[in-house]
Amino acid sequence: MTHVARTVRLVSDLFDGYRLDAHGAYDEVFGADGRPHASSAPLHAVLQQLSASDLDTRTAALARAFRDQGITFSLSGEERPFPLDLVPRVVPAHEWAVVERGVQQRVRTLEAFLADVQGRQEVLRDGIVPRRVVASSSAHTRAAYGVVPANGVRVHVSGVDLIRDEQGEFRVLEDNLRTPSGVSYVVENRRAMARTFPELLSAHRVRPVSDYPERLLAALQAAAPARAGGDPTVVVLTPGVYNSAYFEHTLLARLMGVELVEGRDLTCRDDTVWMRTTGGERRVDVVYRRIDDDFLDPLHFRPDSLVGCPGLLNAARGGGVTIANAVGNGVADDKLLYTYVPALVRYYLGEEPVLPNVDTYRLEDGDQLAWVLEHLDTLVLKPVEGSGGKGIVIGPQASDAELATLRTAVAADPRGWIAQRVVRLSTSPTHVGDRLAPRHVDLRPFAVNDGDEVWVAPGGLTRVALPEGSLVVNSSQGGGSKDTWVLAAEGAHDDAEPTPGRPPMLPRPGLGRHRMDRSPADLNDQQQQQQQQQDRGVSPC
């Protein structure tokens, strides 16, 4: 297929020269024939009526609003806005149903795995996952072993990163079970889109994402230790204002109506956590922590941590407090364990995986390692420990020197790397310069587990790689975001409420010199008299 044949021919300026990916990536708006998918037709129709300057004006207004509201992330100590692209990503109901089921399945599986591996370890005995995979994970910690969470939940919040392959099928790229961030942008992006692009939003029936904080609070309360009673005290624990996700921490605390605490606000005594308030100390029952395990408790982990709270882990172990997400979850979202997750789905749930993995090679296997070392220039190599896109090498885009360095590094430490097939992430029209151009996107839906149900927020963070052709979407690597619009199924209501009867109409006093009891005739008389007085005053008699 030539490039020309895949160029979308349209009258609109904005889509002029919109060229589908030469390497066959799926496009979120256009089919291979250059016509919009049915679910994208309304989006396409509205965008066609706009000019580039319309988009520019709105983008500028949006950037200013984000700056004034302080919707930023910190990169090396500097506050930056997380650029929001004005073209949303639309997910039709039937596609979302797959995502939702797949994420739920994934979370239930990994919950079962964590409970097992930090308890009876049957999965290791049965040989589904080799013992060394768990033991060699740097997130594996004795501290987590034997802590029994109050309602059995360890993964209160998760973010499962999805991509779409060339056929348009969603695949899991990685699981985030520790402290996944980004949900604040899901909430704020929607608010911003509703304000800057009302006509676009009203052309769709989009499921709301605003009840995320409410769901999260309910799940955290449900996870409280039994002794907390009916009204547990939940706090959000942040490393502080210099953390890259600080904005998110404040947003969640604000929208849940709970305190945002730092380590220095907390103190532990007798397996109980207290916070220092102006009214003395108050007991804390659930800590939604946004601090990594390593820094959480200097008594157990890094002794030089100043952002944690000494004694927190013992308090959790003694049943005095619930830590969410639980300590030690990293063993289940390790990049090497990822390759075993489909097997774990079958093992624990007896189901076939709804969402497949990306084809991945385990490098501990000698044959696979040899093959991978031969084909580095066609694969993606990821460090097992990395996050935020650090250290990832995309073979086809790497120089010979980079590949040589990589070869040495991988050969020296096969456990430290995984290799994956290069998936051309799907593309979505993105505002670049004075028109729309295809840019690669991924999707991070967020799931909240309250012990009874895994709820997947209908939406999620769509991250977009802004440099042309780039496949790395992380915000720290020059990524932006898009609002994710999950369309409501035909005839469905999220929360159907009966329409209340019409309220009675009551007159409002005011006007006419603020008096309702004076007749217009009175007012006229008064005005005339005032005028006459004035006339008389001026007349020279």
Partner: protein
């Protein structure tokens, strides 16, 4: 409420009031120099710096230099820009405890500072001072209209009231004992937006004694020292309504109560006679009350560093 949050709220109140009062002071100062041919600009500018507790540089100090020293440097907490930046920083650390409108207002004010400074250099300072006053009024309005009257609100208002006592005392101190040329006293009233209120309540020409009385003792004017003291005291009472059988446990409340009664029950002549000492006492009171608040409400955990187990 968290002690750390309470402390930040208190300081937000103080910083915003400080920015506002400083801009009021400078606005009047700059334009009185322009309009009044008898004032020595050097001396007046030095006085302004001294009153604000800023170091007075060697060499000539004109109004422009004093204005810039008190407006721009963003790292100094005594300048207008510095106060606004500090207020915004404090707010950023506790934004979940503020209404989002209030946070946005502080944040947007901070982000507009560079543009305002540039405008001040080309168009003169009045626009800048006006901007600061208006933003402070928006902050006050948002505190009034969007914050519940809980302890958070009390700490905000407490900080604002104490800063107002301090700043008004400083303003008066710059005048106390000086000649009675009436234009200076009119300026003083204008600094506090009190000129019209003064005229309406006294229906008489501006006299130094009356100005002092009005700015120190007036019960109804919200920027008077007395009114600000009472406001601060009310906040403290509401923060801890329990009153013991004898005396007051709360050191801050004791300090403020003592200062208030010292004003309330002093004769008019005594007050005029001892004005400089009285104003010094008020500034000291604010500083000591701040320390007492710190000990009572803003308890800090000691920063602990743990080391790996020592070798046996």
């Amino acid at each position: 409420m968290l002690s750390r949050v309470a402390e930040e709220l208190y300081w937000i109140g103080r910083y915003v009031e400080r920015a506002e009062d400083t801009s009021r002071l400078l606005d009047v100062h700059v334009y009185s120099l322009l309009e009044d041919p008898w004032v020595d600009p050097q001396q007046a500018s030095r006085d302004v710096l001294r009153v604000m507790g800023e170091p007075v540089p060697e060499g000539p100090v004109d109004a422009r230099r004093a204005t810039e020293a008190l407006s721009f440097p963003r790292t100094a907490p005594g300048t207008i820009a510095g106060s606004l930046a500090a207020a915004r920083d404090a707010a950023r650390g506790v934004r979940e405890a503020l209404s989002s409108e209030l946070w946005e207002c502080l944040n947007a004010t901070y982000h507009a500072l560079p543009a305002q400074e540039a405008a001040m250099r080309t168009l003169g300072p009045h626009g800048f001072f006006r901007y600061v006053r208006e933003r402070a009024a928006v902050v006050a309005g948002l505190i009034d209209g969007t914050m519940p009257r809980d302890d958070g609100w009390r700490f905000l208002v407490l900080g604002r009231s104490l800063e107002r006592v301090d700043m008004t005392a400083r303003l008066l101190r710059s005048r106390a004992g000086r000649s009675s040329a009436s234009s200076g006293w009119v300026d003083l009233l204008k600094c506090c937006s009190a000129h019209e209120a003064y005229l309406r309540s006294y229906r008489a020409a501006v006299e130094p004694e009356r100005v002092v009385e009005f700015l120190v003792l007036d019960r109804l004017f919200p920027r008077s020292i007395y009114a600000a003291l009472v406001q601060a005291e009310t906040c403290l009472v509401e923060l801890d309504p329990s009153a013991g059988r004898a005396g007051h446990e709360d050191a801050a409340r004791r300090l403020l109560g003592r200062a208030r009664t010292a004003l309330e029950f002093r004769t008019y002549d005594e007050m005029l006679h001892e004005l400089p000492e009285l104003l010094d006492m008020l500034q000291r009171t604010v500083s000591e009350a701040g320390e007492a608040l710190g000990q009572r409400y803003f308890a800090h955990g000691t920063a602990l560093t743990w080391t790996a187990e020592a070798d046996a």
